[in-house]
Symmetry: C2
Subunit: 152 residues, 2 copies
DNA sequence: CGCGCTATTGGGAGTGCCTTGCATTAGTGG
DNA sequence: CCACTAATGCAAGGCACTCCCAATAGCGCG
């Protein structure tokens, strides 16, 4: 699957690249590893370990272990969108951040730069270095916010 | 606007007040209930159910159930500060919000108004109604941010 | 290509944080 | 002080991982 031309350049353009990177780091390219990576490449939204395990028919344990090593080697990361399991995404295809709706579960994807003004404001007001990449902002999406306002 | 009977605003200054409010709502004032409430009044930071259970020597189950009913009746709420158990706080004594440090666990307490500029910015940029009250902003406190910068 | 070294795997058990079910206990209004 | 039923204690269950270990299978080497 080719990347759209406007997608930022990245370290791991495709599966083969990523696998090569792993091999170079002394990691073995096993079938489960490859399948997990494939699942991440195929996903357009963050996915749970459970989801991957079901899809590619792997032991959940193995999926978690692979996600962990992918994270450790900078190929993937996970976010906590409210309650529920952690969700995993590939790194390197243009960094994404997320806003999630507590009510309907909608996930809005943003570029890192889009959240910079928020991070800047938090830093400037409270000195905290907000890292929404791991614990994103949770709230109500425009639709749910409106619906709730109408109901009151 | 009209007061919805199932979401009344409870105002209570102390334990006796809170217990009276519960009684008025048809809830029984039992020893475990009173102990959980006392623990919340005593805590100056958000506390876990486990913490309460240990302190007042109650069944964890009972603590969870009581926290749930206190939440349901608007006397308490909980926040998720990064990983780890949910942490409970009383409401009605001046609303607090939190900023937590992913590295050292430090929790900075703020008034709701202090976070309003951030919420406003999120709304104005993305239309999301950020609700940091349930999933607060997680990041690095000034100390940890500096330490990390120095290390790089 | 075969061999050996060891990273990785499957599967099972364990942990943390709750949630549910149920028989028993104890607040409360009458 | 009685009856009614909310609330409790205890046991079990559930979700999201995390750990352990014997068996397997990549990978470098000859």
């Amino acid at each position: 699957m080719t990347l759209s031309p406007d997608t930022p350049r990245l370290a791991f353009a495709d599966l083969a690249d990523a696998l090569e990177a792993l091999r170079q780091r002394g990691l073995r390219v096993t079938t489960p590893r490859r399948l997990v990576l494939e699942a991440l490449f195929a996903a357009e939204v963050p996915v749970s370990a459970e989801h991957i395990a079901q899809n590619v028919n792997l032991e959940l344990t193995s999926v978690y272990r692979n996600l962990e090593t992918l994270e450790h080697h900078g190929l993937a990361r996970h976010v906590h969108l409210g309650h529920g399991p952690g969700l995993y995404v590939l790194i390197g295809r243009g960094e994404r951040e997320f806003l999630s709706c507590e009510r309907c579960g909608a996930v809005r994807s943003l570029t890192t730069e889009q959240l910079d003004p928020i991070r800047d404001r938090v830093r400037e007001l409270y000195g905290y270095e907000a890292r929404f990449s791991h614990f994103p902002i949770v709230g109500l999406c425009p639709d749910c916010a409106q619906r709730r306002e109408a109901a009151s």
